[in-house]
């Protein structure tokens, strides 16, 4: 595929998501799908961050910590200081990136399961921190966060005030999809840039990369910071949509799910997290009618999937490699 066709294909997909899906939903009247699709878009942004840490060869089960942090940063700024939500969105991402640099400097020296276990406990740390720190309002959480306000530049309304819209769900959907497209576009560019290739070399052999002059310490901190930035972004948006955030909004189970999304989509493809999130979230939702057996069927399906396709959904189209 040439670059031009790729670009066209991507543009067609984006157009479908922004115009086609709302039209379909309007035609079928399934307004509840907006919330589901918005969640998929946001969760895939957060999972995209996890995917990037996989790309440098680290198993990250701590993304829930940064999603929670991002959500709280945005929620506190909006409710306590009255700052516009759209301004708090990048701030939340940046705070998470900063935090991840501080945390990442020591823990990124760990590898394999050690890193996985430390990041897993990180989620728990953030939950306990949210419970203990006074500004987060403890277990009661921060509730009734106002809907995002409008943004206008020179009298031109760029983003309307969500509270005045008759269908804020659609607005949230569009905003989340745009955010997702931006994030994954950036991720795609990053992976196919020089830095992306260096990240790949980190995944394969850190010592070798280091021996040919790659500053592995700074590259992996950079990748981790970007990853956490995405986590914070997604978390902040989530807090805005649900208009609330609690210490239990993102727990260890969520962190594990973010990781599963990446695995399921396949770790070699930038778009893997989107597909994985979509499959997992919709699978989970569809099974809702089965009641108590929901988790049973869901986890059995996951296990079967692992037995049949141990390398992720997107590995289907790959020709079978030797020994794979």
């Amino acid at each position: 595929m040439t670059n031009a066709t790729k670009l066209l294909l991507a543009a067609a997909c984006v157009l479908f998501l922004l115009v086609g899906v709302p039209a379909l939903i309007a035609a079928t009247g399934r307004n509840d799908l907006y919330y589901t699709l918005t969640s998929v878009a946001l969760l895939s942004i957060i999972s995209g961050g996890v995917w990037l840490t996989f790309y440098i060869g680290r198993i990250n089960i701590g993304q829930g910590a940064f999603a929670l942090l991002g959500g709280y940063v945005s929620a506190v700024l909006v409710t306590a200081y009255g700052i516009s939500f759209w301004l708090t969105l990048p701030v939340a991402g940046l705070v998470c990136a900063l935090a991840s640099v501080l945390i990442g400097l020591p823990i990124l020296r760990l590898r394999g399961v050690y890193f996985a276990m430390v990041t897993l406990t990180l989620t728990e740390v953030m939950r306990l921190l949210a419970l203990a720190v006074p500004i987060t309002n403890g277990a009661k959480g921060i509730v009734s966060i106002p809907l995002p306000g409008g943004v206008s530049l020179f009298g031109l309304t760029l983003i309307p005030d969500f509270a005045t819209l008759e269908n804020p769900r659609l607005a949230f959907y569009l905003a989340s999809v745009v955010l997702m497209v931006l994030c994954f576009g950036a991720l795609y560019r990053l992976v196919h840039s020089r830095i992306g290739h260096i990240c790949l070399s980190l995944q394969q052999n850190e010592e070798l990369a280091s021996s040919i002059g790659v500053n592995i310490a700074s590259i992996r901190v950079l990748a981790y910071a970007i990853s956490s930035f995405l986590g914070g972004l997604g978390g902040a948006m989530f807090a805005a949509i649900s208009q609330s955030i609690y210490p239990s909004s993102f727990t260890v189970a969520d962190s594990v799910n973010f990781m599963l999304n990446c695995f399921l989509g396949g770790l070699h493809y930038v778009l893997g997290p989107i597909l994985g999130t979509f499959a997992l979230y919709f699978g989970w939702d569809l099974l809702f009618q089965t009641g108590v057996y929901q988790l049973l069927i869901f986890s059995s399906a996951l296990i079967v999937l692992m037995l049949v396709l141990p390398n992720g959904l997107l590995s289907l189209r790959l020709p079978r490699k030797k020994g794979a």
């Binding site: 399961v113 406990t121 049973l296 296990i303």
Partner: protein
Amino acid sequence: MEQVIANGLYLGAQYALIALGLTLIFALMNVLNFAHGQMYVLGGFVTYTIYGQLGLPFVLALACSALTLAIVGALVEKFLFRPVIKRSAREESTMLLAAAIAFLMDAIILILFGEKQRGVPKIINGVFVSDSLVMPYDRILVGVIAIAMIASFMAYMQYSRTGRAMRALAQDRVAAQLMGVNVDRYSMIGFALGALLAGVVGGLLVTITGVNSGIGGPISIKAFLMVMIGGAGVVGGAIAGGFILGMMESVGLNVLREFGDVTYLVIFVLLMVFLSLRPNGLMGKPWG
């Protein structure tokens, strides 16, 4: 102070036993068993059913817990982990499988036993009281059983033929295979043994703290903490990690009482600092 130390030792013995199973599975197969906490819960519920519901002797219940979990562990290894490890391109894929198994076990436990907190009658009544120490007899008994289990596990690993084979396997899989160790068979035995340990602790602790279907995840996290403190894949490390965590929890609950529920926060922060100084834990091999 003696009270705090006694509590720490008692907790530590339980924790060490949980961590031992996790570290054994990790050492043999390089699998991080997310379902370890769920195995603990299942063990607790088996004991609850046999000892608490049917009224049969506690020892029998404990043996049934051990047996059930050993079978579950062996089956999980043979039919789930082994094929996936053989076919997946990245070894991390086993983590997805382990997480899925954890979900599955959660679901099964929830359906079979419900979501209520369950307890059983005490195994021995009475409390040991001295000038500085108050300790119920059943806690002492459970602590002693746990320590005996740890000792017999270590002796088994050290002196039996199976133990020797498993240690060889943990050291170098290929070399062990070349020396004629049946890798598949001992991986299965190892996994079963690890699961068995989790089940036994579940059975022991149900007599004291009770059990409910939701505690599997938190128990797994605690087990991960202990393994990280001691170093993954090392038997001595797991025991050390268990006792250290038990002691920290006991001391923390006592010292940090007035600051509210921050013991685990402090433990986590200390762990981060510790791991940045010593990434492999106390006695772990480099890069697990």
